[in-house]
């Protein structure tokens, strides 16, 4: 196995162009498991750890440009204010050691339906900046996930950064696992309020072949909030509305039965998480409004 160690972004892109089957390695928390379990023997590894721009973030206007390799720990320590949903999701990833190494770029690269960054990214919205020797393009997060562990990258492309709008209102993330830490999601849910557009975005994890949004639920809640003028009044959300929202989220999933949980439980848990997180975000939005008033 060849081990390529580019020290600049251009060298990394050149390496990927030359060896399209080469596997990039960032934190290595997915890649090394695959290698150790003998599941995969790539011809070459491209070590991205020397490429400086992958490890930094920038804040332009209202968007955080998050370098692909920035580890979860740094997101938690430095970006919780701007990316509260992603930070909550980051908290739930693995153990401290994994959070010190693992990155959003790696989560996107692996594109596992159980990846914890995905529901948070879907709920906040954003774009993935990918590049190759042929140039750079921006892929909306909604178009990024194509199938089980398949994403929209071309053979010769690498992820440079993720552009995520700074939160303008509360966001939440919730995940089911049968232990209280370091657990792969049985299913997960992300939610973000977007008062400026009058929308609520969602992300469902581990309950379909890809991470996905619950569009019917989003449309339902947007209409409910708009019809009752709740964005402006910051009035109370009816329990029945939260309940219905939960049901619609559950309907949007197409979960399977597997060793971690049944499809029925996943749907049920999604409806509960969606109801609870909607209630939390909405109540927080109301409190913030009162505090501002």
């Amino acid at each position: 196995m060849e081990f390529l160690r580019p020290s600049t972004w251009d060298e990394a892109l050149a390496a990927k162009a030359e060896y399209p089957s080469a596997v990039p390695i960032a934190g290595g928390t997915d890649v090394m498991v695959e290698l150790n379990f003998d599941r995969h023997r790539p011809e070459a590894l491209i070590d991205l750890n020397r490429v400086p721009e992958l490890h930094t973030w920038e804040i332009d206007d209202d968007v955080v440009r998050l370098g692909a390799s920035v580890p979860y720990t740094r997101i938690i320590d430095h970006l919780t204010d701007r990316l509260p949903g992603l930070s909550l999701a980051a908290h739930t990833v693995g153990s401290p050691q994994i959070r010190n190494r693992g990155s959003v770029g790696g989560n996107l690269g692996a594109a596992s339906p159980a990846g914890d960054a995905h529901p948070a990214l879907l709920a906040s919205g954003g774009r993935v900046e990918v590049a190759s020797v042929r140039g750079t393009r921006m892929i909306p997060i909604d178009d990024f996930y194509l199938g089980v562990k398949r994403n929209a990258l071309e053979e010769d492309e690498l992820i440079l950064a993720v552009h995520i709008p700074s939160a303008t209102a509360p966001q939440q993330f919730s995940k089911i696992g049968t232990r209280n830490a370091m657990v792969i999601a049985v299913c997960s849910f992300g939610i973000g309020l977007h008062p400026e557009t009058g929308t609520v975005r969602t992300g469902i994890g581990s309950a379909a072949p890809t991470p996905r949004r619950a569009t019917d639920a989003e449309e339902f809640i947007a209409a409910e909030l708009a019809d009752a003028g709740l964005w402006a009044s910051r009035g109370e959300l009816a329990a029945s509305t939260a309940q219905r929202f939960g049901e619609l989220v559950a309907q949007a999933a197409s979960p399977i039965d597997d060793v971690r949980g049944s499809a029925a439980y996943r749907r049920h848990a999604l409806s509960v998480m969606a109801r609870r997180t909607l209630t939390w975000t909405w109540n927080e939005y109301r409190t913030a409004g009162r505090a501002a008033a």
């Binding site: 153990s95 049968t178 232990r179 209280n180 370091m182 049920h268 509960v272 998480m273």
Partner: protein, 777 residues
């Protein structure tokens, strides 16, 4: 042949000198190394020029082997050997209690993962690639997977010549048809738990010029491994020498052979050192697990809550080979009433062969399963009687002098009611948390699933009984060699045993005993090997008792020789002498000399055994025995849980324990054993289960076989009491297993208390709390 006789990366030497005699808590000599990641485990062994061994395993739970073609694998570059059952030099059969397991399968495979062939190659990956080139033709057979059917259905294929029942044991006491005012019954099932030790099976075999072999390995019992391996290798014992290397946990999972015979076969065949290390997934197939059980229980009591009778039928799935199944049956039936006086009993236990993964020893052997059932029953009975569950347990509790249903009389303290009383008096954790709550304190923890919605609290108690040491007539002994000599002007003792340090702290305890008995500052521990007599297994909570007893005996023998010398030289009577702070002291004339002076250039070395009181088999028909177990131990737990009833998630808020340990030789190590045992019991209560379907393990990884993290492990108040057992050295009572047993039912009882559910399966998962509609497929 290699001229190398010991590996370059050797077994960990523990030269750090500890301080303190018995009853103190010196730092353990391996502790700092382990915490810093510097401890050498058996997987770190290394020898120059060594080959790597790998094992081809059956992909089928049950199949006939039609043919094996090793040719393509042998032709693979870098491969030195490919071996099958035809290459087993001695008898191709081994087993702890019953020799029924082939070292390599012959014409049939009885479980998925059964070893079929071996490869030695110059690199571990080459060895794995070569495994893929071995061509085995199987005729796949319908596996036997239901143990209860295996017990009663003669139409099923017999997996072994004697049929599918490994052991059937009834125990009958009093009038089994007695009637009672209040009756409760249920059927309980317990999932297959894994020992989940972190250090995978591993060893390094080095062939010797004498035609023998040295194996460096991690095990729980050197001599039983040596005996079984020598038989398969067709070599005399003295040519099969075993040396302990760093053990990364055991919990019973290292009591059966794994790579021992295989690694030696490859080394003898190739004439080169061979190392084998299992990967994590292979490890799940490469060691035995805890027996899953199905248990039918019925309890009858008077209106006042006195137990009238217990009837129970229990089925234990031993999987493909017997391993410890016979002992599971005897422990489960002989301890199956719990620590209660019950006048009328009929308990029956079956241990079965199936094509499921083999099951064997695990912490709490055979006592974990019935304890979950009988402690569930005690809560159910309390509910039916509308009685405090603690009081119900107390009025039925055994005490010293009680007779168990086997007819055995408890001949040492049994403070069962007191343990419960002490637990009850411990303060309860606060119910009302300040808002906003820290999610880490709630069910779901860091995963942020509730901020208090759906959460209810529950409290549960349990108290259990466990036997200590081997039972039913086994001559369960240990051997210690103690040497006393002057090194650098100072008297130094060396303790040499074959007793495995598996993390429990035995290295420290042995030194503490020698320091106490010989009054010397420096005690060294010789690496464990088969050059000294058998120590028995590091299991059954027995080593401080039995090996502790042997070290004590050997020290006393050394002391007698020393006193005889001193008496001769100084005209004293040996009976008047004692050792204090490195000096020989006479009760008549005071200090007479330094130990070093008395010793001079002499070396005193004595080897002694310790045998505990004789035990007797259970009568095969009545289950009666005057002393089936040499000692019993008791622990009680109180669990406090918060349950998210909507999502079915559990947070154990607190797990307090009261336990009688006879004598705490090392009080900190005792507490650590109770913390670890309680946590392992917590795992079985809420998450740990090997899921088996049609003989296949569905979760052979630590991604999907979950064990508790620190975030799942609650604060524990541990109340240790010491009521000496007059029959044991220093009065010690086994410590390691009881808390594992009592933690599980206390937690499940707490979840019942919170939810009102019956919960007839452990571990309790979301599907059990949210309802059967959510069962995992």
């Amino acid at each position: 042949m290699t001229d190398q006789t010991s590996p370059a990366r050797t077994p960990q030497r523990l030269d750090e000198v500890i301080t303190g005699g018995i009853g103190t808590s010196p730092l353990r000599p391996d502790g700092t190394l382990k915490v810093r990641g510097e401890f050498a485990y058996s997987s770190d062994l290394w020898a120059d020029g060594m080959l790597w061994g790998a094992t081809l395993r059956s992909p089928h739970p049950y199949a006939r082997i039609l043919s094996v073609d090793t040719g393509p694998a042998l032709a693979h570059p870098g491969v030195s050997a490919v071996l099958t059952h035809q290459d087993v030099p001695g008898e191709n059969i081994y087993g702890l209690k019953t020799a029924d397991t082939p070292a390599l399968a012959e014409d049939v495979v009885r479980y998925k993962g059964e070893p079929v062939a071996l490869v030695a190659a110059d690199h571990p990956e080459t060895a794995r690639r070569a495994l893929e080139k071995i061509v085995v033709a199987y005729e796949v057979l319908e596996p036997v997977t239901d143990p209860e059917r295996a017990a009663h259905d003669d139409t099923l294929p017999a997996l072994h010549p004697g049929g599918n029942v490994v052991r059937y044991q009834p125990i009958v006491q009093g009038d089994p048809d007695a009637v009672a005012d209040v009756v409760v019954s249920d059927v309980y099932t317990l999932g297959m738990q894994d020992q989940a030790f972190l250090g995978p099976e591993s060893g390094l075999a080095i062939p010797d010029e004498d035609g023998g072999v040295d194996l460096f390995l991690a095990t729980q019992w050197l001599h039983v491994d040596q005996r079984q391996t020598a038989r398969a290798l067709g070599l005399p014992l003295e040519k099969v020498r075993f040396t302990m290397s760093g053990v990364g946990g055991a919990f019973g999972g290292r009591e059966d052979l794994s790579m021992q015979i295989h690694c030696c076969m490859l080394a003898l065949h190739t004439g080169r050192p061979v190392k084998m290390v299992y990967g994590r997934e292979e490890s799940f197939y490469g060691h035995v697990h805890r027996h899953p059980a199905k248990m039918y229980y019925e309890h009858g009591a008077t209106k006042d809550g006195k137990l009238v009778y217990i009837k129970a039928r229990m089925y234990f799935d031993g999987g493909a080979y017997a391993s410890k199944t016979p002992v599971v049956v005897s422990n489960a039936t002989s301890l199956g009433t719990g620590p209660y006086e019950v006048p009328n009993v009929r308990i029956e236990g079956w241990g079965l062969y199936t094509n499921n993964p083999p099951c064997g020893a695990m912490r709490g052997l055979g006592a974990v399963q019935p304890a979950y059932a009988y402690e569930s029953q005690m809560d159910k009975l309390a509910k039916a009687l509308d009685m405090d569950p603690v009081l119900l347990r107390q009025i039925n509790a055994v005490s010293e002098g009680s007779t168990l249903h086997t007819g055995q009389v408890l001949d040492s303290p049994a403070p069962v009611a007191e343990l419960l009383e002490r637990l009850k008096r411990l303060p309860m954790p606060l119910e009302n948390r300040t808002a906003p709550a820290d999610v880490r304190d709630l069910p779901g923890g860091i995963s942020n699933t509730t901020h208090g919605e759906g959460v209810v609290r529950g409290v549960g108690y349990s108290v259990i009984i466990k036997n200590v040491s081997y039972a039913e007539g086994a001559d369960d002994y240990s051997t210690a060699r103690v040497r006393l000599e002057v090194i650098g002007g100072e008297p130094v003792a060396m303790v040499h045993t074959a007793a495995a340090e598996v993390g429990q702290g035995l290295v420290t305890v042995q030194q503490q005993i020698a320091r106490t008995e010989l009054a010397v500052e420096r005690v060294n521990i010789h690496p464990n090997d088969t050059n000294v007599g058998d120590a028995g297994s590091s299991s059954a909570s027995r080593q401080t008792y039995v090996t502790g007893g042997a070290v004590k005996n050997a020290c006393e023998a050394v002391r007698d020789v020393l006193f005889a010398k001193a008496a001769r030289r100084f005209g004293e009577r040996p009976a008047d002498l004692s050792l204090v702070g490195g000096k020989v002291v006479s009760s008549t004339t005071g200090v007479i000399a330094d130990i070093a002076d008395v010793l001079g250039d002499d070396v005193i070395e004595e080897t002694r055994e310790y045998h505990h009181l004789r035990t007797y088999e259970l009568d095969p028909v009545t289950g009666q025995s005057p002393r089936v177990h040499v000692q019993h131990a008791y622990s009680a737990h109180r669990a406090v849980v918060d349950v998210d009833t909507e999502l079915g998630l559990v947070k154990v808020v607190r797990l307090d324990c009261a336990q009688d340990v006879g004598k705490a030789v090392n009080p900190d190590a005792v507490v650590a054993q109770i913390q670890g045992g309680s946590t392992q019991g917590l795992g079985l209560a809420v998450m740990e289960e090997i899921q088996v379907e049609g003989g296949h393990i569905r979760n052979p990884s630590f991604t999907d076989y979950l064990i508790p993290t620190i975030m799942d492990t609650p604060p524990m108040t541990i109340d240790v009491i010491e009521r000496a057992d007059p029959n044991s050295p220093y009065g010690v009572r086994g410590v390691g297993e009881p808390p594992t047993i009592s933690a599980t039912p206390a937690i499940v009882n707490a979840i019942r208390n919170a939810t009102g559910l019956d919960l007839t399966h452990t571990p309790v998962g979301p599907e059990h709390i949210c309802g059967p509609a959510f069962a995992r497929a």
